[in-house]
Symmetry: C2
């Protein structure tokens, strides 16, 4: 009799990922599949079909998190839980998030093929809106499930077209009203998420598996600069209150503040909006985002807390408003799960490592013993159509996931 | 018998400006009335009514420039022409452009009230799309009239909503099909445009009237930076191709290139678009505008020609594309018109000065002897709801306009 890990099919898993990649396909092998969109619902129907074929029960909760459950021998015992998310960045790739859902499904299919019934039920979840690129912040589904933030608190968040999150969620729930509804929130025995690394470490070191020990912390800010519009042809530069120029001054100063010779700190300005955004009218409003991450809590706190004073000292003419709209302190995964994954990776080239990216798993940490498994990302490229992990690398990750879940479920 | 200048009514002119300011009114006494919009058409109908009451014949041309003509004693002689534009910036004021049209109408009304018939016909024009903020570049109507660029050349220009200029123009012409059509382009005896200064010089020096001797030159560029998107949490900063950071490097270098201790050079970056514009995805595309102006042709050429090499030397990681999409060399107005305006300003405190802003008048220069009259702008504020010139300052400008036109028409 073959083990569950032996029943993991590299070909089936790759084929499913490629079928999903067609939904929202963009140039260069990329994917643009926003959460709570028609494309998202189409992808979910595809996945539901595969889950049902593997004998899993399907349900959704009030945050539109999508659940698949295969019964355990002791079905009253807390289940082991795996999963990730199905939404993508606007110019995203074929693996970020969706790999963790498809890997979980592959384990359910392998359980079915192996004819194995573990002691504990095995559940797979597709969390709603991890990316945060349509509705900010990300991880709304896992935050709501974990009791971190009620889902209703996000209702008034608007996407770029002015659609309310609350309305988009209601539309999704209505479209999936045929699925059984489950209560939002429960305590699993353990949570384990498989994901692409989204960084270059595993590839650079020739490794197959990252045994993830924790996730670096994040602090996200929006900076608003308010100046005064004026005629670009007549207003002398000395008297202007030019919000674009003050943005440049602010970013120069922030670059100096955030400088890290070891290149561990992550500082990113990636969203900029300018008003009136007319080439011959001096800008009177600029908003820009700051994404700051670091694995060390003290560094994250000290650098983040210095942002406002740094900007105020740097700007020349504009009013400054700083809003920290999200933060997550660095988290450490549970030794039980980390050790289990490391043992399950026997036979593969693996290392322990922290996650550079932000994942739903960090919200599971306060709820249950949690962990993650990383597979390599080619050149570390992610949030980009060129994102790539080979079929065999993905299958290796799923085999380690299967062994880990079997160990945790027994 | 009262002269035409004496028949200029400060109250009537102010009342008309305030009526027009209601069409597209925005917070803080501002106006947002895009060219070729329903608001634009509503404003034009109001003005047409006033022109007809003054006995003027109304017509439009193929560029939707709107014309009012009062006959001269020798109606075969080339007319004297005045006017300006009726479109506004997105966050504009109540006087930029529209003052020159209302001042021209006020002269027609004063002619009517005075019962004067000058030798030459007097024409008032409202040029289409001077601002260039809905459809770029500006001055399309006057450029088409002057034979500088055929109106058809602008057909494919898109506004922010993706509307083609050609379609918006056709919609305007269809909505005004009841108005007689005149041929696009003719040679007037002289062209004289009244306008707010949009700079602080007249107010700072306690003057009433600017006798405008010419217009500084402009060069407008779009810079496109192409990098690579990546995950904001995982991609080490050293390996990024971050288009926002390269924009900051480029603007720093351009600020150094454009530095002018005398503050005569005008350098503005006011339109910035970033893609994918998601706070946690490194930007792979940035486009930003450069608006460069200077009254000295040699400075304009040397600084403008140095932009591309300056940006290429400054950026670290991104591809650079520079597109110069508009330029206008500095122009000098005709001595006949300048001297006429100066003589007409007798009794007012006036000075000769160059225009910092870009005006339809510069396209009239190759066609006919041309000039401009400036009235003060409070604090030099323009392209801003706070734009202000007092009723008596506006009336003074219109009286100088009336005297100048009467001199040129006799």
């Amino acid at each position: 009799m073959r083990s569950v890990a032996e029943c993991v099919s590299e070909a089936r898993q790759w084929d499913r990922l490629m079928q999903l990649a067609k939904l929202g396909a963009i140039a260069g092998d990329g994917v643009n599949r926003p959460c709570l969109s028609a494309l998202d619902r189409e992808a979910r129907r595809l996945v539901i079909g595969w889950a049902e074929a593997a004998g899993a029960a399907v349900s959704i909760d009030a945050a539109a998190n999508l659940w698949f459950r295969v019964k355990g021998a002791d079905d009253s015992a807390a289940p082991v839980l795996t999963g990730s998310h199905m939404d993508s960045q606007p110019e995203g790739g074929r693996f970020d998030g969706i790999y963790g859902v498809v890997a979980g499904l592959e384990v359910l299919s392998a359980l079915h093929d192996a004819g194995v019934v573990p002691k504990r039920a095995v559940e797979v979840v597709a969390w709603t809106n991890e990316e945060g690129s349509r509705f900010a912040p990300g991880c709304m589904g896992s935050m709501a499930w974990a009791g971190h933030t009620p889902i209703a608190a996000f209702a008034e968040v608007l996407d770029a077209d002015g659609v309310r999150f609350g309305d988009a969620l209601a539309e999704q729930l209505a479209a999936e009203a045929d699925l059984p509804r489950r209560v939002l929130g429960h305590v699993p025995h353990a949570y384990l998420e498989a994901h692409i690394e989204q960084g270059p470490v595993l590839e650079n070191e020739g490794l197959d598996i990252g045994v993830v020990t924790g996730i670096q912390g994040s602090r996200w800010f929006t900076v608003t600069l308010t100046g005064e519009t004026a005629h670009a042809g007549t207003a002398p530069l000395a008297g202007r209150k030019d919000a674009v120029q003050d943005m440049v001054r602010a970013i120069n100063a922030l670059n100096a503040l955030m400088h890290d010779p070891e290149d561990v700190l992550r500082f990113t300005v990636a969203r900029v909006t300018v008003a009136p955004n007319s080439s011959n009218s001096v800008a009177n409003h600029v908003r820009f985002s700051i994404d700051l991450r670091h694995p060390d809590r003290d560094v994250l706190l000290s650098k983040g807390d210095a942002i406002e004073a740094t900007i105020r000292a740097a700007v020349r003419d504009c009013g400054v408003h700083l809003h920290e709209w999200f933060h997550a302190m660095p988290v450490a995964f549970d030794a039980l799960v980390v050790d289990t994954v490391e043992a399950a990776a026997a036979g593969y080239r693996s290392r322990r490592m922290a996650s550079g990216a932000f994942h739903d798993a960090q919200f599971a940490v306060p709820i249950a013993p949690s962990g993650m498994i990383f597979v390599p990302s080619h050149k570390g490229i992610s949030h980009n159509p060129a994102e790539y992990t080979s079929p065999s690398q993905l299958a290796a990750g799923t085999r380690v996931l299967a062994r880990s879940l079997m160990a945790l479920a027994s």
